[in-house]
């Protein structure tokens, strides 16, 4: 299983990369390679050109701007997993990343690559949606920003125009002490999720849920926010009964089918994951007074 022949380009700046994408036909971007290379080895793709982004400086790393965390597109998944900054402001990320593939793939795999590949069962797109992340894109027409929701044009299809590439992801903070939980069901450690659920919760001084975000991955053709569930949660005191009712929203998911599971099964599992993620998030919430 050897890759088909292609021309190889290694631009050293974003501008150069965009220029290449502008003039090359049938080109694929090479980020971490953990998704592209298997497809090349299996000959599912026949690009004429491969544009390697790995030597472009300043496309990896973390920065803060106001109440937002910005992660460069070429930041390795492993770097996000072990970053103290990320652990501080968005602890759901390191937790979920432990479930992403294996160490060998996280060392090379990038957040940008994962978002652009947009496998619905992948953890990072699900988290980006959970956070309503802003995707920063550079292209021939300049820079633009698009919400994760709008970035997901369809099954494994990001809303990128010709010649564009993702350069960063920007996430808003949730307040210190927020509850978070990420639970997935995979057949083996590191496998893609058959269904995953990510939850962020904020509680008010009255003990009721003030804000909630619930995202499910692996079930629909793209990760999905359970907005109906979120509405049900806000204003309620957290508890098992509530979580079970909320999890029942998963019955409405338009689920995929593959060798690992049919639609009904996926919906059921999604419900279980949502319940468990809600419970985990609730257990982690620190009362506002306790967070100093």
């Amino acid at each position: 299983m050897k890759p088909p022949p292609f021309d190889y380009h290694r631009p050293e700046s974003v501008t150069a990369a965009i220029a290449l994408l502008g003039r090359l036909e049938n080109a694929k971007l090479l980020a971490g390679g953990q998704s592209l290379m298997p497809m090349l080895n299996l000959r599912y793709l026949y690009p004429d050109h491969v544009v390697d982004l790995n030597r472009i400086p300043d496309l990896a790393g973390f920065s803060f701007a106001g109440e937002r965390l910005r992660i460069g597109a070429m930041t390795r998944q492993r770097a996000i997993e072990v970053s103290p900054e990320v652990a501080r402001v968005a602890p759901i990320f390191p937790e979920a990343l432990k479930l992403v593939g294996h160490r060998q793939t996280r060392n090379r795999g990038t957040i940008g690559g994962s978002l652009c590949h947009l496998d619905p069962a992948a953890e990072l797109p699900t988290l980006a949606l959970l956070y309503d992340a802003e995707i920063k894109i550079a292209g021939p027409a300049g820079l633009r920003s698009v919400s994760m929701r709008d970035f997901m044009a369809g099954y494994m299809t990001p809303a990128l125009k010709a010649g564009e590439l993702v350069i960063a992801v920007s996430l808003p903070f949730w307040p210190a002490g927020h509850g978070w939980g990420f639970v997935e069901f995979a057949r083996r450690h590191g496998d893609f999720a058959i269904a995953s659920a990510g939850v962020l919760l904020e509680k008010g001084g009255d003990g009721r849920i003030k804000r909630a975000a619930v995202a499910v991955g692996g079930v629909e053709p793209v990760p999905v926010r359970l907005t109906a569930a979120e509405t049900m949660l806000v204003g309620e005191p957290p508890g098992e009964g509530l979580f079970a009712r909320v999890a029942a929203c998963c019955a409405n998911l338009d689920a995929l089918e593959d060798v690992h599971g049919g639609a009904d099964y996926r919906r059921s599992v999604a419900g279980a994951m949502v319940m468990r993620a809600l419970a985990a998030a609730d257990a982690r919430i620190k009362a506002p007074e306790a967070v100093r």
Partner: protein
């Protein structure tokens, strides 16, 4: 017996493998060898109307694109037929090296491309334009029996290749008189072997002398050599077959495949050396798989649950072709009784073809399916009669006072089948005690209060090992003093070299690490059979033992003359023969030199030249290993996920030459069996298109999916060979799937779930749980 036999001697194979110096088939350099890739059928059944290799041939670096018509002129016959010893498979069972115009499974080789690199060969293969006319195909094992089902190949009048009966005792009477009769359908699904290293062959077409040196990742070199010469019309003296280091065998590497013949024919035709290294997708499509069987069974028992008779039908899926005599369903049907007393048996065996990959042995070779069927039936009886599963088995296990136990069933040769030794009830009792079987119900209840579903399962099995008629063994001492062992047995990671080195070291007073073992080279020994059916320690080990004894006898005789001491006063120590209690020695090398002869000088009286001996220990009856496994699982009822939490296995494999190696074989076997229960399912759609062709879809467990494995041993030495040994390679696999399934069912008792299939994947288990809930249980 000795300071070496029975010791956990560390392996002599390890250093090379640990330092990356192994020589697997793709590691062997050969300048000028062309690389092969295959054009393979994309259809489960089709005619090839046209094949256009023009574009492929014009790719730079491509040397040839060959079809059957191109290679047939250098072959003895067009089809890969062989004389079938059982007489059962007809000529129409066998494949062609390359398609003869009709393809019968997805992945069937159609053409071979030879190029300067594998990369280029694949480029060219993708450009070969094949015009297929799809034909009706059939993948379902039950449906393929229907009279109007499509035939797997047009030449077949029926998809049934063979039917036969295995029977003894008066089954009808037993069923009529029985207190209880229970029925069950037990479907079992195929999986692959998937050694981490795939198949491979390197044919060196030697310009020096026109001969062929063939390296292969193979489990048998002599029969392969025979078949190569026969099919390619080659002189046996012009062909040498050598096993490379083998990165796991497990069954598929026991065969000669169309690809092997195509590569050899291509080499012969073009005058070039040719190399083919299988990739993982090819292994999914073309390497043999097995376990596809449907068992429709009935069991008759008395009031106490003692088996009166067993009867049923075994429907076996052979896939599109047979690559050797079909042995698996025979193994299954004749071993179903396992370690239990079954006074009457009737099995109807039906062997059918489907448009799926060809079927042959994968670790266990039909025994796992039989154990699964029997053990599920035992659990069924226990449940129905309200008996503890272990107690029911206790009542039926062949007791030690009945050993050696002659089964009412005869072997194909007409010989009685005799379980030679073993204490089955004691083994079961010992593993149950270690597992805390009696305490488990209390633990289970406590877990249930916590909303957790845990279960425990038990399964027993026996395995006939040491299949004869022999394996070759030659022990030679060189003038340098180096001791070498040669054998037709095959090394594939099981520590064969270490075991044989231990046996030899024991005879000649050298250290195992100073013994060189060459396994699987037709140039070193003329005869051999190879590695399958857990046979090599018994057969090769015994031959090497006898050869070593003969060499020692010669050495002793000569040393006695040279040292002027009585033979009884001599001992073997540190590579020399020594007069006991003195420091008078003569080195093994010196003895060897004396026996090489020096022209013009006196030669020792009464001794044949050469300090070497060869032996082929003859054995026909099988030595029976037995095993009892206990599995503990936890089930997540919201996902159907099963976690194996604890696993214990006791085995009696006779005298263990190297307990470390035995442990490794058992542990690896167990995980394969666990995997057959919970993970591995080779999927095909209704038409016969494979749906799981990568490791992303077809799951092998990693270290995170299995626990530590607790192994226990009893040793009932086999009286059938001088080592007292029994085979161990497959015994870990055989009862593992039923042990796990039994545990899963036990965990889900609250839902009344009954599992009589394997594998059971989470979605299916989830559905069974839901069914139970809807019926008001749990």
């Amino acid at each position: 017996m000795s300071a070496v036999i029975g010791q956990p001697v560390l392996r002599i194979e390890d250093r090379a493998l640990l330092t990356g110096k192994g020589r697997y088939i793709d590691d062997i350099p050969l300048d000028g060898a062309l690389h092969a890739a295959f054009v393979r059928s994309a259809h489960p059944h089709a005619l090839i109307k046209r094949l256009d290799a023009g574009a492929a041939r014009s790719v730079a670096g491509v040397h040839a694109v060959l079809t059957l018509d191109d290679i047939a002129p250098v072959m003895a016959r067009r089809r890969m037929t062989r004389v079938a010893r059982t007489g059962k498979p007809k000529d129409s069972m066998w494949p062609f090296a390359l398609s003869d115009g009709e393809v019968a499974f997805v992945g069937e080789p159609v053409a071979i491309v030879l190029a300067d690199s594998r990369y280029i060969a694949e480029d060219a293969a993708a450009l070969v334009a094949v015009d297929y006319e799809p034909l009706p195909s059939i993948a379902d094992l039950r449906k393929c029996l229907e009279p109007d089902a499509p035939k797997v190949r047009r030449e077949l009048a029926s998809n049934v290749i063979a039917t036969y009966k295995v029977e003894y005792g008066d089954v009808e009477a037993a069923f009529r008189a029985a207190a209880h009769v229970f029925r069950e359908a037990i479907p079992q699904h195929r999986g692959g072997a998937h050694p981490i290293e795939g198949r491979g062959i390197l044919v060196e077409n030697r310009r020096s002398d026109g001969r062929f040196n063939i390296w292969m990742s193979t489990q048998k070199v002599h029969d392969t050599h025979q078949l190569f010469c026969e099919l390619l019309d080659l002189d046996e003296n012009d062909v040498r077959v050598v096993a490379a280091d083998v990165g796991g065998g497990f069954g598929p590497k026991l065969l000669v495949y169309p690809e092997d013949i195509a590569v050899l024919a291509a080499a012969k035709l073009t005058g070039r050396s040719v190399k083919w290294i299988e990739d993982r997708r090819e292994h999914f499509l073309g390497a043999v798989q097995e376990r596809d069987q449907i068992w429709d069974m009935e069991i008759a028992v008395d009031k106490e649950g003692r088996i009166q008779a067993l009867r049923g039908k075994l429907l076996h899926d052979q896939g599109a072709y047979a690559l050797q005599d079909i042995n698996l369903p025979y193994n299954s049907a004749t071993s179903v009784a396992g370690p239990y007393i079954v006074p009457a048996l009737f099995m109807e065996v039906v062997i059918a073809q489907t448009n799926k990959g060809p079927v042959s042995s994968v670790r266990g070779a039909g025994y796992p399916q039989a154990a699964f069927a029997m053990e599920r039936l035992m659990d069924l009886v226990a449940t129905k009669l309200g008996l503890d599963r272990a107690e029911l088995r206790r009542r039926n296990l062949i007791p030690p006072e009945k050993m050696p136990y002659e089964k009412p069933l005869k072997a194909r040769s007409g010989e009685p089948i005799l379980y030679d030794s073993g204490d089955y009830p004691a083994c079961q009792a010992q593993v149950l005690a270690a597992a805390g079987w009696e305490d488990f119900p209390a633990r289970q209840q406590a877990a249930l209060q916590d909303g957790r579903y845990i279960g425990i399962g038990l399964a027993n099995a026996v395995k006939g090992t040491g299949r004869g008629p022999f394996e070759s063994g030659l022990v030679r001492v060189a003038a340098s003093g180096r001791v070498s062992v040669f054998t037709g047995a095959a090394a594939m990671g099981q520590g064969l070299a270490t075991a044989l080195a231990q046996i030899t070291a024991d005879q000649l007073g050298v250290k195992p690490e100073d013994v060189t073992v060459v396994a699987g080279d037709t140039a070193t020994v003329p005869l051999g059979l190879g590695g399958f059916a857990s046979r090599q320690l018994i057969t090769a080990g015994s031959s090497v033992l006898l050869a070593g004894q003969a060499v020692a006898a010669k050495a002793r005789k000569l040393a006695s003359a040279m040292l002027e001491a009585a033979e009884a006063d001599l001992e073997f120590v540190g590579g020399a023969v020594r007069v006991v209690g003195t420091d008078r020695t003569v080195g093994l090398g010196d003895l060897a030199r004396a026996l090489r002869g020096a022209p013009g000088y006196a030669f020792p009286e009464g001794i044949e030249p050469g300090l070497e001996a060869s032996a082929a220990f003859r054995t026909d009856p099988l030595a029976y290993s037995n095993t009892s496994h206990v599995a503990e699982v936890e089930v997540d009822i919201l996902t159907g996920q099963v976690r194996v939490v604890r696993y214990l296995a006791i085995q009696d494999v006779g005298r263990r030459v190297n307990p470390l190696i035995v442990d490794g074989q058992v542990q690896g076997g167990i995980v394969h069996g666990i995997s057959n229960a919970l993970f591995e399912r080779m999927g095909y759609d209704e038409a016969g298109q494979p749906t799981t062709t990568t490791f992303a879809d077809y799951l092998l467990p990693s270290a995170a999916e299995v626990p530590m494995l607790e192994t226990l041993y009893r040793e009932s030495p086999s009286p059938l060979n001088p080592l007292g040994a029994k085979g161990v390679g497959e015994v870990g696999t055989i009862p593992a799937a039923p042990a796990v399934i039994s545990a899963v069912e036990d965990a889900l008792k609250p839902f009344g779930v009954r599992i009589s299939e394997t594998p059971i994947l989470p979605e299916r288990l989830f559905a069974l749980i839901q069914q139970g809930r809807r019926a008001g249980r749990g």
